[in-house]
């Protein structure tokens, strides 16, 4: 078994005896807290700040069977310069693609700040032998992916084989080398916030650079409360070890209003330190244009039409 990097105190294997320290989450209370934060009223400069940040934090994503190099080229252009009419709008953080499209993506973003993220480990189900997953990760990194978005083995997690989940993440992390590892929990398959918290701590203990809510392939993906639960887990790991782990909600975030709500939640839970693409990403395929429309509305004072923003 590979050696785990920088284990937080209190989360050494075997995990089971430590579970009481992992604690639990009260569903009603966490949902009320998330709803209360979502009622913040963000206006004017504060809103422009948030929208600009949302663009810089975005992982512009396409994960379709019909993806082609041509589609990736269009996506990359959009990622580098989201609004050709307004050069003050920054590039997004990364484009997120399937392994086959990594070479095309790498070529198209060359020379820009945009990173290439690839999903891997038998995405989205994760139902493949560990050695194949590890091989896949090695390959996408060799092809030039800067970031790897892996999925945890939910089957193992839900049947109580936490060590298997942990071990697999450790191996994938090792295969990543310099590439950043985002660990997808696929929260809508975990059933409870308690499980989300456990899986979050497990992933961070195993070496995740980011934890991520969802594949985007299931309904009920990212939600404010589930993201809050994960942020709180990140905060606890930071408190215990000083290690800063990133967060990526993904799936279902389509409107700038939602993006602002996610950022408010981030700011009021982890503080200003986390307001950076190095520690927070928004995984989205259709959010960007809505954010661009809102930015232009804030700048021009006029409500916008989608006709003035490119569909890529």
């Amino acid at each position: 078994m590979a050696k785990a990097p920088a284990l937080p105190t209190g989360f050494e294997l075997p995990l089971e005896p430590r579970l009481p320290r992992i604690g639990s989450v009260d569903q009603v209370a966490v949902e009320e807290r998330a709803a209360s934060l979502a009622r913040r009223s963000i206006k004017k400069d504060a809103k422009i700040f948030a929208l600009d940040l949302a663009v810089r934090m975005m992982d512009l994503t396409t994960l379709e069977g019909q993806d082609t190099p041509g589609k990736i080229a269009a996506l990359a252009s959009k990622a580098i310069r989201p609004d050709p009419a307004d050069t003050s709008v920054p590039s997004v953080a990364a484009i997120c693609v399937y392994p086959n499209l990594v070479p095309a993506a790498v070529e198209r973003v060359r020379g820009s700040s945009v990173k290439v993220a690839s999903v891997a480990t038998a995405f989205p189900s994760g139902q493949a032998p560990t050695h194949l997953k590890v091989a896949e990760v090695r390959e996408v990194v060799e092809m030039g992916a800067d970031e790897v978005d892996m999925v945890i083995d939910r089957g193992a997690f839900l049947s109580g084989r936490y060590a298997k989940v942990y071990d697999e993440i450790v191996q994938v992390k090792e295969a990543c080398g310099e590439a950043h590892l985002k660990v997808i929990l696929e929260v809508s398959e975990l059933g409870t916030y308690d499980n989300v918290r456990r899986a979050s701590l497990l992933s961070m203990a195993a070496g995740a650079d980011f934890i991520k809510t969802s594949t985007g392939k299931l309904p009920g993906a990212a939600t404010l409360p589930v993201t809050l639960v994960m942020l709180e887990a990140i905060r606890d790991v930071h408190d215990e070890t000083g290690r800063k782990v990133g967060m990526k909600p993904a799936g279902g975030i389509r409107q700038s209003k939602q993006a602002v709500q996610y950022l408010v939640q981030l700011y009021e839970t982890l503080g200003a330190e986390w307001l950076t693409p190095d520690l927070y990403r928004l995984g989205a395929s259709t959010l960007l244009n809505d954010v661009l429309m809102q930015i232009r509305k804030e700048k021009t004072g006029r409500y916008q039409s989608p006709d003035y923003f490119t569909v890529d």
Binding site: D26, Q27, V28, A29, G191, T192
Partner: protein, 265 residues
């Protein structure tokens, strides 16, 4: 030659024991020397009630019901004695039946008085009654037995402990009752009975900071002053109805507690 009867010494009933008044005083009532309780006896009775309260309130409702029924059994066996000390057999029988009636309420009133409350949020919310604590009862002068039982039964069936000021003019039935109570598996201190002058003890009970409620059903002209004293610790002031039996009489000595808990997974 006729036999000279052995007379009874009429004592107080505190904490399950039968002490004389700490003051050493007696007074004559119904032709007998009866203990004339003092404010210190009242204080001791409250202390005994407080210590008896925990055990009594902690018993199951089913057990409390059985104890109340046992009181009825003990009285039934003394029907003749009781009849001589009150208005007669009818009053005794009615008093016994009252114990039986309240015994049956022990494990039912919570279902009638409590509720589950459909709050407009994901919480389970329910309300249930709990005993108030130590209750002082100023028993009516008449009927000396029926009035006493009518006031004690609803207080203790709810899990409270009582300190009772017996009828000043006709205290013998109360003393007889305390002897029945002492043999009825009632934990010591749940009912304490004081005889003597009401004016010497009632104000001390009304103003006592460790008494939670006071039943002024038997208080007459001194009721307003007792009520004023009761305000010192926000006592529940009840004007119990003599001769009435109802779950509302029980409810008057109960606190309602409401518990919220989120419903989630």
């Amino acid at each position: 030659m006729s036999r000279l009867p052995v007379r009874k010494t009429y004592k107080l009933f505190i904490g399950g024991d039968f002490p004389r008044s700490e003051s050493g005083r007696t007074y004559e009532a119904q032709g007998q020397n009866v203990a004339r309780g003092s404010r210190k006896d009242a204080r001791d009775a409250v202390r005994a009630a407080r210590s008896g309260f925990g055990k009594w309130a902690g018993m199951t409702a089913y057990n409390r019901g059985q104890v109340l029924y046992r009181i009825a059994e003990m009285m039934e066996a003394r029907t003749a004695e009781f009849a001589e000390l009150c208005s007669g057999r009818a009053e005794v029988e009615e008093s016994i039946d009252r114990w039986v009636w309240y015994a049956g309420w022990a494990d039912k009133y919570a279902q009638v008085i409590g509720s589950s409350n459909p709050v407009a949020a994901p919480y389970f919310n329910f309300t249930f009654p709990e005993p108030t604590g130590v209750v002082a009862i100023v028993a009516p002068d008449e009927p000396s037995l029926g009035g006493l039982v009518s006031r004690i039964a609803p207080v203790i069936v709810g899990g409270n402990a009582a300190v009772v000021l017996a009828s000043e003019t006709a205290p013998l039935a109360a003393i007889e009752l305390s002897e029945a109570l002492a043999t009825a598996d009632l934990p010591g201190g749940v009912v304490n009975i004081l005889t003597g002058y009401r004016s010497e003890m009632a104000p001390w009970l009304a103003g006592h900071m460790d008494v939670n409620a006071i039943d002024l059903g038997g208080a007459d002209g001194d009721a307003p002053e007792l009520e004023r004293l009761a305000a010192d610790n926000v006592k529940r002031v009840v004007r119990g109805r003599i001769g009435e039996q109802s779950p509302y009489e029980i409810a008057a000595f109960l606190e309602l507690k409401t518990v919220w808990h989120p419903i989630g997974v």
